[in-house]
Amino acid sequence: MSEDLKLTILKRLDSDGLIESTRVAFKDVPEETVLGALKSLESQEKVSYKTLTTEFWTIEPEGKDQLENGSYEARIFAAVPAGSQGVSMKDLEAQFGKVAKLGQGKCMAEKWLKKDGDMLVRLVDSVVDQVKANLEVVNAEGMHPDPSVIKDLKRRKLIKANKILSYAVKKGADFSTELKKQATDLTLEMLQSGAWKSSEFKKFNFDSLGVNAAGGHLHPLMKVREEFRQVFFETGFEEMPTNNFVESSFWNFDALFVPQQHPARKLQDTFFLIDPVHANALPDFWERVKDVHEKGGYGSIGYRYNWSEEEAKTLVLRTHTTAITAHMLHKLAQGPYRPAKYFSIDRVYRNEAVDATHLAEFHQVEGVIADKNMSLGSLIAFLDMFFKKMGMSNLRFKPTYNPYTEPSMEIFSYHEGLGRWLEIGNSGMFRPEMLRSLGLEEGVQVAGFGLSLERPTMFKYSINNIRELVGHKVKLSDIAANPACRLDKKMGREAEQQSAAVNKI
């Protein structure tokens, strides 16, 4: 059938020289079919064509009602008897429903009716239903000679605009009235038989999509984890064994010098366990920790409250991977001093309210540097280098408070696209009360820094709701389509914003 159409088009061009409008020439053929035939002919350079767009108007359902039954205002006018008595709005509403109000308003505007108390009274003897007449013209012709009429009917939502596509067709460079069958592929058989020598080949369509390369996919968050891991390995960090979600309050809080009265240790913020409830022992140095809380030590006055062994034994889902850092530092302290760098990227838990950007569980990235030469200046220099590898090269630092670090800093990076500073992480030097009770010798300084993994991932991939990234509600097609992670390159929204910013200058 479409082969017939193609031949017809060619023959028409041959006899007439050109086709002015396919809509006229092929009135009963659907536009897509005509376009398909033209595209096919054009790919063989047999024709060339231009698209013509014309507008025509159709009657909407509400317009159809007024076309058949008269406009609202005409109907209302007709329902108002002649004479000074008129009719009440109530009666009209009873008779016409909501049409009454609409029609009455128009009648008042046209000065066909006037209000006399509660009654509507005729101002003129008769009216012409121009709206109905206009609709009749549009219905027949698809348009109206007066553009203001079109505007008015469109505003009242009685008519709708439609586009008709049509095509003007000319002979192409390789015009002929013959349609040769084109081969769509080169086959082994054609090579073997020699048929390829006389075949005409259909041109490749580079504008279409190829066949989907079926394969597997890694999860977006894990791709970002891999990028971070790379940077940690490049800068000499050992990965910590964080495969322990359940932790005792001792390691999660007390050993980190977080006092037992701290609000973060309350049920609202932390997941406590009811089975099991307590750790079955505390590590052998627990009394050092108790003392530094209760009485102070290592130059500190401590918190001076009554420290509870039972409280320290309560089990929680860790609120940060810093609990594991404490384990590692304690282990490091068992041997002679050596500089060390540790990192981890793993799950932590907060019993806080969930919303679009927060779940009860998320992944924390943590880095730790133990070195006798560590200072705030060298920590800042290290963070400069670390984040530069991830495309963030303009950092600023703000004093902040953490119970277990002092000095502490919030890390900010300048985002060119947004034109402002964004907080990207937290850092600080661990307190001596913590380090010395873990057994590290005086003079060994340990710095730590951390951030969440989800936040930069959502930012990088322009994801607004965390449930589109983590959990069972994530669409598998989104995982499949998710691009590779390059932290050192701008992607998606970042790239758009950056080029927008550049263009603004």
Binding site: V246, F272, N351, I369, S375, S378, P407, H472, K475
Partner: protein
């Protein structure tokens, strides 16, 4: 982080600098507080409405929780003023609070102080009340550890007593009320008060309630709930009596010190406080407030080393002055005198942070000097990543599901019975989805398939992650286990497909049949 609202004009007038918003934001950034919002930036202010700054304060800085403290701290930081010398002026006949032995049953501690000849106005009064609210909420642990009572000294008569009596024996008219109530009626009455109902549990079940009396036997307060109507502070009050009851000795002193240092600026003799003696049941007498005359001994070597700068002793002393810290050089050491407004300073490292702030975090030379170290992955993670990669290469898609789940999802729905020795159970979960830690990976993948039903079949998903098992033999009572799980969903179950994946993964791990 606690937030405070500060009148913008009052603050800028005090600092004699009408900062533009960016400049003030910079100052806050450098000092370590955060300007969250300037109400005049949002749009036109209503007539008569004053611009307000909403500022985030670090949780350990109780001296920045009110206008008086913040403005003073910034004034000192900008070197417009020196930190005041807060002092206790001895009184010939100091007021006394005698503590009855029954108090030990419910709320053992009380401290007090007097602010003489103060001048209050509406703003100062509001600030006074707001600071008490903020301290109650944070440092005082919702009044449980410490609670503050303030009174017009001229409406009561010393000496005072702090007792614990049966609720029905305590009768007074509470603040802003007209009804005479006893202890029981007070509890009943405040059940419906949105603010106070949260504190009733602190004393409700006790056979005796704590109560502060004056010499005429009039109730001044029923801690930690409410003060009396007759001793209340008004704008005309000239002499303020502060009594603070508590269960925590360290905190009650901190709170008293903050209250008097913040508001003694309004005394006729600024920054002076009149002492109060507290006589305990064992006869011991302690004079309050102690206005913590603490000292921290440090050195330029230590401070420079922590910050990463090279300043002389004299330069360090100058810089610390910006942070309200008075320091003197003593041989090779530096002696830092701590004002009573800085209970957050526990030792040298706290001084180092203040020095770094005074110097400017972003001016510190960025010099890296730590030793090189060798990196290494955790072997378990390396193995898990190999398995993940092989599964993805085989054409499967990785999911990342939640490790907390509902009990049924891990047991009943999987046709398994819970013998009670397997899963870790969470206390007070906010939602049913967080009842236990998973011991299986499969429910997470099944839920993933459920949420992806409209995707084309076959659906091939996998996940390699941790589950958690109880283990009473271990110190933490539980352990993680790394599991690999894969799920094939289609219109046919096709066991051979999942079997094939397992074969592929095992081969990649060099495990033969």
């Amino acid at each position: 982080m606690p937030k405070i609202n500060i009148d913008k004009k009052d603050l800028f007038d005090y600092l004699d600098n009408q900062f533009d918003t960016e400049a003030f934001r910079e100052l806050c950034f450098e000092f370590g507080i955060e300007l969250e919002e300037d109400s005049s930036e949002k749009g036109e202010l209503a007539p008569g409405e004053r611009a307000e700054l909403k500022i985030d304060i670090p949780a350990n800085r109780y001296d920045l929780l009110c206008f008086e403290g913040l403005s003073r701290a910034l004034g000192v930081f900008l070197r417009r003023e020196d930190t005041p010398n807060y002092r206790v002026v001895p009184a010939k006949n100091p007021y006394r609070i005698t503590v009855a032995k029954e108090c030990a049953q419910v709320r053992p501690l009380v401290v007090g102080a007097v602010l003489r000849n103060v001048k209050l106005n509406a703003d100062r009064y509001k600030s006074f009340i707001d600071l008490q609210d903020k301290l109650h909420a944070n440092l005082c642990s919702q009044r449980e550890l410490v609670s503050i009572g303030t009174h017009d000294l001229d409406t009561v008569q010393g000496p005072f007593t702090y007792e614990a009596r049966r609720p029905e024996d305590i009768k007074f008219v509470p603040l802003n009320q007209t009804e005479l109530m006893d202890g029981r009626r007070v509890i009943e009455f405040y059940e419906s008060d949105q603010a106070i109902k949260h504190f009733l549990h602190i004393i409700r079940e006790s056979p005796v309630y704590p109560v502060v009396y004056d010499a005429k036997g009039r109730v001044m307060s029923l801690p930690p709930l409410i003060n009396s109507e007759h001793s209340k502070i008004t704008l005309d009050t000239r002499n303020i009596f502060i009594e603070i009851t508590a269960t925590d000795l360290t905190k009650v002193n901190m709170v008293l010190n903050i209250m008097v240092t913040m508001f003694s600026g309004y005394c006729a003799e600024p920054f002076t406080v009149e002492p109060v003696e507290v006589v305990y049941p064992d006869g011991k007498t302690i004079v309050y407030p102690d206005l913590e005359q603490r000292e921290v001994l440090t050195s330029s070597a230590y401070l420079n080393g922590i910050v990463g700068i090279k300043k002389t002793d004299a330069e360090i002393v100058e810089l610390l002055r910006k942070m309200s810290l008075d320091a003197v050089v003593d041989g090779s050491s530096i002696r830092v005198k701590l004002p009573a407004t800085r209970p957050d300073i526990l030792q040298e490292c706290d001084i180092a942070e203040d020095l770094a702030i005074a110097y400017g975090y972003n001016r510190i030379p960025r010099v890296q000097n730590n030793e090189a170290t060798v990196g290494a992955p955790l072997p378990l993670n390396k193995l898990a990543d190999i398995v993940r990669r092989e599964m993805a290469l085989a054409g499967w898609t990785e999911a990342l599901t939640l490790s907390l789940c509902a009990h049924d999802e891990n047991f009943a729905f999987m046709r398994r019975v819970d013998a009670g020795d397997e899963a870790v159970v969470l206390d007070n979960p906010a939602t049913a989805e967080n009842q236990i830690c998973r011991t299986l990976m499969l429910p997470g993948l099944l839920k993933t398939v459920r949420e992806n039903r409209e995707q084309p079949i076959p659906i091939k998903v996998f996940e390699v992650s941790d589950v958690v098992f109880k283990n009473p033999a271990l110190e933490r009572g539980a352990q993680n286990e790394r599991h690999a799980c894969a799920l094939y969903a289609s219109d046919e179950a096709r066991f051979e497909v999942i079997q094939g994946l397992l074969d592929t993964v095992m081969e990649s791990l060099n495990v033969s049949h």
